[in-house]
Symmetry: C3
Subunit: 238 residues, 3 copies
């Protein structure tokens, strides 16, 4: 092939990339208006940022939630994809808008700074995975993507194969008084992933307690299908 | 990470697991009512069982059909997932209900006892796979999941990539006088899997003959794409 | 297992197969009428041909476009599948119809003759891929499958993860005056693949220039996620 790829150059839109989830963050300072028109964003900004990944949605969304909290930007689209490089879950694409490229770039940088943290409670083995997420205070990314209540505690309980996620959900709901935001199963989900997922809100201690109980149950069950499930980064939900 | 996973414990919901298809079977004796409300089951039982897998639907459904035949339980939901750990097909999740946990556990145990049997006519190579299933008498799982006629012979002819399944379907229909229950192709299926699938009913000898002829054709064609397709367990359709 | 697979025989329907994209081409000279009735073809021919693959849609569709140009056949169905053997894109199935088996077989043979050519601008690494396609004159396959204008220049700009495809689209539209035919993102696509895709028409020089500029940008960005992206066959878009 002709070597038209100059490996020393970097495209101006590039902000960051991380092998965790094969995640890339890009910023288009002055997006083509016709392209923006054909995208499905809820509000038109001239500056858009995109965080896109192969594996995972929770870690990227929780990380971007921190980015949104700390900058003058807004999530204008979240899309799900049946990908995960052969895994049973979903990848995602988050589009944000802002008035200033430096704001959008900053939101993406904050996302990458938090990414390993929010991968801390993703545990896997050859048979599947278990994912937990928790925040004491959800902001605009989690409200837009997952129906979290702004400023309230929010948690995700998720596993593949799907049945493990359902038992974890049952355990969580029996552990603490929390509110169900959504229950997702393979055919009743954004895309037909092999996941059972519960999202919850409520008093922050109760949400955390429910998530921790579900984690213990999920790891026991997934462990019955193969090796002890392992995480790539330290657990953050204590 | 903190070692909160006690590898010697087993969650009370666990019934069984098998590396064939990465299949797990769980029983929730007294499911949280709000969780059950948000699931999409056709009937509310207080005891539910779930068989969930990464790879395969046919073997699990035919195996559960035996479980349903031998216990006082009922299939209340079947969901499909675009998973298969990178394969071209679907995984599935089967939810059953019963009045007694011992019945539900028994149905799941019977499912696992039959699982290798019904994986016997799943043949694969690096390019794809061919799957055949046959029963002389379908019961409640196959009627609920796949539209089989209760008590009648039923067969599945299935392959990936999809074109092979279509030629196999053509061969089957030209071989014996059987009734088409359904024809599925990638865009006209539960989820956009890479499969061509024919399901048939009719006189038991005719259904078996059609399935066997389709198998021969499918293995010839898939063999043209790579190695000779192999099965992991002995063929059961003779 | 019983050795019912005679490895020296070849099914009469077999026309060709190629490891590129795990693609197979088959011809059914006198398709079962009830099967054809249940398929979703736009016109009923007694002779049908099927090209079906695990990985890729663009290369197979552009190759079949050459097959359609050179024979008396017609594309009667194109279906997409969430497969790609664990990749983030789609596989596809193309069904053609004709009056004469030799025409249908010839169209499929031409497809295979062109397949490596149209895989020439598919570049990948472990994190994703970038695909470009270009023709100065689209015919019936591209019009049916992708909305190309018959006889006009047509191009595809496509990448996984999706964000890279969106930046490439933005670059293409800023480079040359071309018409947008479609913009696809994960949730607004035939199936929830992890792709951003732009299809364009216009003056042939402008379309080619837009595609080349997008390729350069896409390779830069994908290269930031891992190894330098590589193609398996020589680039054809110069």
């Amino acid at each position: 092939m002709i070597d038209f790829l100059n490996s020393t150059s970097v495209a101006p839109e590039f902000v960051g990339a991380d092998a965790a989830g094969d995640t890339i963050g890009l910023c288009i300072p002055n997006v083509d208006p016709e392209l923006l028109e054909k995208m499905h964003v809820k509000k038109h900004y001239s500056v858009i940022g995109i965080v896109s990944d192969r594996t995972g949605g929770g870690p990227q969304l929780f990380s971007m939630d921190e980015g949104i909290k700390s900058t003058n930007t807004e999530v204008i689209d979240v899309e799900w994809t049946n990908d995960t490089k052969g895994g049973g879950g979903q990848g995602c694409m988050i589009v944000i808008g802002g008035y200033d490229p430096s704001d959008v770039r900053e939101a993406i940088k904050v996302t990458f700074e938090n990414l390993h943290h929010y991968f801390g409670d993703v545990y896997g083995n050859a048979a599947g995975y278990v994912e937990l997420q928790y925040t004491a205070r959800a902001a605009g990314c989690l409200t837009e993507a997952l129906g979290a209540e702004e400023g309230k505690a929010f948690g995700i309980i998720n596993a593949c194969p799907a049945a493990i996620g359902i038992v974890m959900a049952d355990t969580a709901l029996k552990t603490a008084g929390v509110n169900i935001i959504s229950v997702a199963t393979p055919s009743h989900n954004g895309s037909p992933s092999n996941e059972g997922t519960l999202t919850i809100s409520g008093e922050s201690g109760a949400v955390r307690q429910a998530v921790i109980a579900a984690r213990e149950r999920g790891l026991e069950l997934l462990g019955q299908m193969g090796d002890k499930p392992a995480n790539d980064y330290p657990s953050y939900i204590q």
